[in-house]
Assembly symmetry: D2
Homo-oligomer: 280 residues x 4
């Protein structure tokens, strides 16, 4: 990065060396980081089999290739719904298989890594755990792709070092995910930092996704930000979809309906083409 | 805005009422806020006639329709180059006329409004003056379009109220411009807030531009962020271009070369089409 | 500053050179920056002569040595009370003389400097105008002390450079005032940055005040933060006091009653002694 | 909190109910949260027995009542010193016993809770783990006092909810610790938020400490901020002390020397008295 006052160790595994190709991570036949834009969709939390199945069926029909859903939910209050735990994992794996969609879910505790790995195709580290170094170290020792969300107030530098923890442990399948940072703007839940996406794509060889749902917290902004993310160079998006957002156990305000998601897919397709890519 | 906890007075002039069309501001035949994406380009500061002329000639050749350049420069240090003042305004107006490009320049002092108005087609309020209410009030009384940049730490709410100051004074020609907010991310100069662009486009009837140069402070990020801005729904972009950025008296690190600007124009065109618009 | 990565020009007027004594600014016999802690109190806005007189009488009785009150008010909305203007200045000057208290008031426009100077003993630059460089330059040319509030998102570096604008113009009577910065914490109006106070006291020779009222926006926090400010090394405090906060035209939530102010004065006195100073 | 727009569940365990006394947590005879100001001191990381012993001996001599030191260190880079692990815990416990000082150390992983509990008198949750809900839940089930540091960008509300996780699990011995939040000010490592301390003291019954070392990252600011913390109402401070800061394996820039710490103790004593308290 000529002209940038960026200080990272030159030999970090996370950095893109001269002539190094971009890393493409293959998840059950779906490459992440290649020419195609990957779309991961699903509800915030797995609530029951019916809702997840309905959501999966509809998002797959609109073009999503992977299914997301939380079994362990990081909630501000201990009295909020905390997720279905292992029962949720089972539901997720079953629906994923039935729909032929790889599944993504969050792991929050080093003690759960083995269990979550049995069910999930990709393990996600949430924003609040981006610097849970014990978790990162243990995820460096497994053979599963990891989605590493950027912390709520993490600098790009800290984000790359967090990825380095996983890579240094021997797991090279890291996918970065920008999901908004905390700023002094109160109307949006967070501020989606798309310059970080473009900068990280320059600096690293890793794929980068964007989560416009958590970033904005406002349903009507999800599609414009999905378009912008792909225009900025993201390799894919993660979107919350719920068949009945008004009844969702968490994050209803920002969830798209299946119909809204279908519209999103229509709108990102021409953007993907405009940057020389395509949506699966 | 159903579902949003946004508190603004319902009858604010800045808000888009039901069925109200978007405001299109016509500047010497260039509409801002209509179907076409407007591109404003030029150096950060007007340094001399030759450089401005060379820049204008080249950016016009690549498709810019308006010329920008600062005669009064807000600089952190009193010992930095403060701009050419009225001599700069004269140069700007002359080149604008020669090239047939409307010109944009910043006004920093209520005492300069009359003078700047004689030379400029659009007056710009810089980020540091977004809540200079004396300036806003007096700009409400003139008959020139105003570009109102978002303050460095201004909330969207404060930005809209700042626009309201100008509208309330009787001047309805306000163009909003997002240029990044100050956050805890140190690698980029500011954090470009494109969710604010999408949200402000929903809430108001005013045109919204994006300045990816000041927002990022890094040359290589200007084009990706210009693409993202248009994908998010911006009505145009303002870009710093300098024939010799390494010799620029201010903001050289973020200025595109004319060649880089030409590449930017090539890349935003398909994005504009993907959102149903075109670049002039 | 050994060990600090602080980059300022070594010969800046604002910096404290080796063996340079602290600057003490004498305002009608009240020294600011010396051994005594100065307390400036009064209502946010001057509403009428009765209220100001009642406030002045009471705060003087409790130990305030200077009177503050706004005649020109920077308000987010153009439809909010904007201050009484020159009529307010006249009231302020009259009460100040009657009570034998120097008076402080804000100036927002270069066009008003001369007028405000006729009435005020100290001119204040508000947070929103900290980088209104036109205003700073003109205040560098007058012979009145200036209170320079830190901008809402201004770095310490920018604050010192803003002071340098005034000093470079020839006016050496600058008093810095920390009043909270904008952060991601939503419960307090701003985040009072007392480390900035301690750091600025090390770096410069200028007096530094703290405004705990605007910083917190919460009445019950004003006194604890006044105590903390003095413990941190501040040379004084500015506090909002209103005889009937619930009826105040602005900032009622954070205004102390005269009784609350009297309690504040009782509590800061032992703190001042604990750091080897005294309250006037 | 009359007049505050604070939304918390009224029956949260963390909140102070009418007439509820402040919680005093007794650690081997040292009460935290009572009339006395508690001072916890020690090196950032436990490096070896000699250094820890020298530090403990000196800080105890100056008046510290508890000893801190990290055996598991959360470091941005995986290649930085990560702490001595169990060997560090053993050293810490041995020195604590020898010096008759209760010891505080950080736990980062649910898998380490049992082990750390065998050696430490107080377990600390670091800022990066404030919303590691798995960790919080398991700490709710042990019978040891917990110091809960505020997250780098955590709101006060989230901090209180994080404490609620521990309380809801059945462990009522929670001590809050403010250690600075991330803001746009780059000169200090973080911005110490003392208004949060005063506000949290109003809202809750829990003791609140302040860590001026991590908050500022600058040695010369530690003592002024320790004074300010106590003036603001904190129940104690945690300070980094190292006999040879220039050779420390982590955080040398912000560590006090034993001599500097002795000076700090001299300066906080009169402040404690000024607020009606005393230092042990």
């Amino acid at each position: 990065m000529k002209g940038l006052k960026i200080k990272l160790a030159d030999d970090m595994l996370v950095l893109r060396q001269a002539n190094q190709p971009a890393t493409v991570i293959n998840v059950k036949g779906c490459p992440i980081g290649g020419d195609s834009i990957v779309v991961v969709a699903g509800p915030c939390a797995i609530e029951n089999e019916e809702i997840l199945k309905e959501t999966a069926f509809k998002v797959r029909g609109s073009g999503a290739v992977m299914l997301r859903g939380g079994a362990y939910k990081p909630r501000t209050s201990p009295y909020s719904f905390q997720g279905l735990g292992e029962e949720g994992l089972r539901i997720l794996a079953r629906i994923g298989e039935e729909m032929n969609m790889p599944v993504v879910t969050e792991v929050m505790d080093t003690a759960d890594i083995e269990l979550v790995s049995q069910y999930a195709d990709i393990l996600q580290v949430g924003a609040r755990n981006m610097q849970n170094f014990s978790l990162l170290k243990k995820l460096g020792q497994i053979n599963k792709p990891i989605i590493l969300k950027r912390g709520l107030a993490a600098t790009i530098e800290e984000w790359l070092w967090a990825a380095e923890y996983i890579l240094a442990g021997g797991n090279s399948q890291v996918i970065l995910c920008e999901r908004g940072i905390r700023t002094s703007e109160p109307w949006t839940r967070n501020t989606l930092d798309l310059s970080a996406v473009a900068l990280v794509k320059e600096l690293t060889h890793l794929p980068v996704l964007v989560d416009p749902s958590h970033a904005t917290g406002i349903r009507s902004l999800v599609t414009p930000m999905a378009r912008a993310a792909i225009a900025a160079g993201a390799d894919g998006i993660m979107v919350e979809v719920h068949p009945h957002p008004e009844r969702a156990l968490s994050d209803g305000d920002q969830s798209l309906t299946p119909k809204g998601f279908s519209q999103l897919m229509k709108e990102i397709e021409p953007i993907a083409r405009a940057v020389g890519r395509r949506v699966y």
